[in-house]
Symmetry: C2
Subunit: 235 residues, 2 copies
């Protein structure tokens, strides 16, 4: 291991959230950063917001100093005392382990697995297909026009939301959360993905259980404060 | 919650691995099922292999009885006493919580986060882009030929492997594992993805740290026994 990262095991310990100040590398429009902002807000953690503009000057995330933080060049990344963590789900699980209250995963393994599965349905099977880099590849070299690209975008959301709606109907207690009756990681993932579907004029009434849960969640303060338009780098 | 699934919290408890018999819904060529087979083998768990052919008769995974198990219609799915878990990473985390020895995640939160991030790099940012359903969409309606589709396939692996190689060089101790010096979930994810890259004739020497680790891992017995060609439904 290189010297800079060898301290990973020794940094950020469970402690009082009010004493901790983490750094979040973010971009206001990034759905993955949006997830982490929600999780940080739910935990009541203050954090330094470091904006990385994905479009300006060919992308600030592609510069060498940021690639040292995240070799993928993606936002978000979380930093604390030499610990650098990438991938939004890894960051959220980390935050949940280090700052366990309120918990974003249930206690029982089978329940945790279902919340993780719903989260991964969004994080693996919807979002990466509709990422900016993928849409750019469809435009060039694949020469797809904006109609074809929009159809692609909606196609993967529709496939994912149909299955997720079934799971939410199965596991939600009162139609206020994706799993049972408290906010979990799956709720944190759902709201930014629903925001994306709205930007593409999708009809959420096709997914009634999902729509009901999202409508409840998206006005909660931790979710509102995490919205793209509420970020310091919003344009 | 519906009656069938309400028992989720009450099933599979931590117990002696030798007494447990789980069901794995699998397809020999599925990379995601391959991951779970490796994890089950590493844990020394015997399991019932239930083959779901993704191509025969329009896909056995699309039938109503399987959609009841996994509304996404994907393999793998894991079943035990009424607990149904989908999404390979959720299954692996579940197995690691219920059968903790040998552990597939480190103990320290920051270390766990890095292993999860490397796993998610593959599970989110490489594999879903190259899935069969996506390749099919590129063929129709997007009318991409086999050369364009193969270029797409290699493009996302190359982007992911370049970043992953940097992370492995940073965090591997002796070049035998992706993280430090024991087998983790990231190793479980790496080997099936490397197998896919070989099927598309990619030059792994461009990713020397990754190649070295994969070469060590892929001949370990738990990995060998999980290979597609070793499965009962292999053709």
């Amino acid at each position: 291991m290189s010297a800079r990262f060898v301290k990973a095991s020794n940094a950020l310990r469970p402690n009082d959230a009010s004493e901790t100040r983490v750094k979040l590398y973010s971009y206001y429009r990034s759905s993955a950063a949006y997830r982490v902002r929600i999780a940080l807000n739910l935990k009541g953690l203050k954090y330094d917001y470091i904006a990385k503009h994905l479009l300006k000057d060919g992308g600030e995330h592609r510069r060498a100093d940021y690639l040292d933080i995240n070799p993928q060049g993606f936002v978000p990344a979380l930093e604390n005392e030499g610990v650098l963590i990438t991938q939004s789900l890894a960051i959220i699980e980390y935050l949940d382990e280090v700052f366990p209250t309120p918990g974003l995963l249930p206690v029982v393994p089978a329940d945790r697995a279902i919340v993780r599965a719903m989260s991964l349905l969004i994080a693996c099977d919807i979002h990466p297909l509709n990422n900016l880099r993928v849409l750019n590849y469809l435009k060039s070299p694949m020469e797809q026009g904006s109609d074809a690209t929009a159809a692609w975008y909606r196609h993967w959301i529709a496939a994912g939301f149909a299955a997720l709606d079934t799971l939410i109907a199965r596991y939600s207690d009162a139609g206020r959360h994706t799993f049972k009756d408290s906010v979990t990681m799956a709720d944190v993932l759902l709201v930014p993905q629903v925001a994306n579907s709205r930007r593409y004029q999708m009809d959420l009434s096709l997914y009634p259980a999902l729509q009901k849960v999202a409508t409840h969640l998206e006005i909660l303060p931790a979710f509102v404060a995490a919205r793209p338009e509420a970020q310091p780098d919003a344009e």
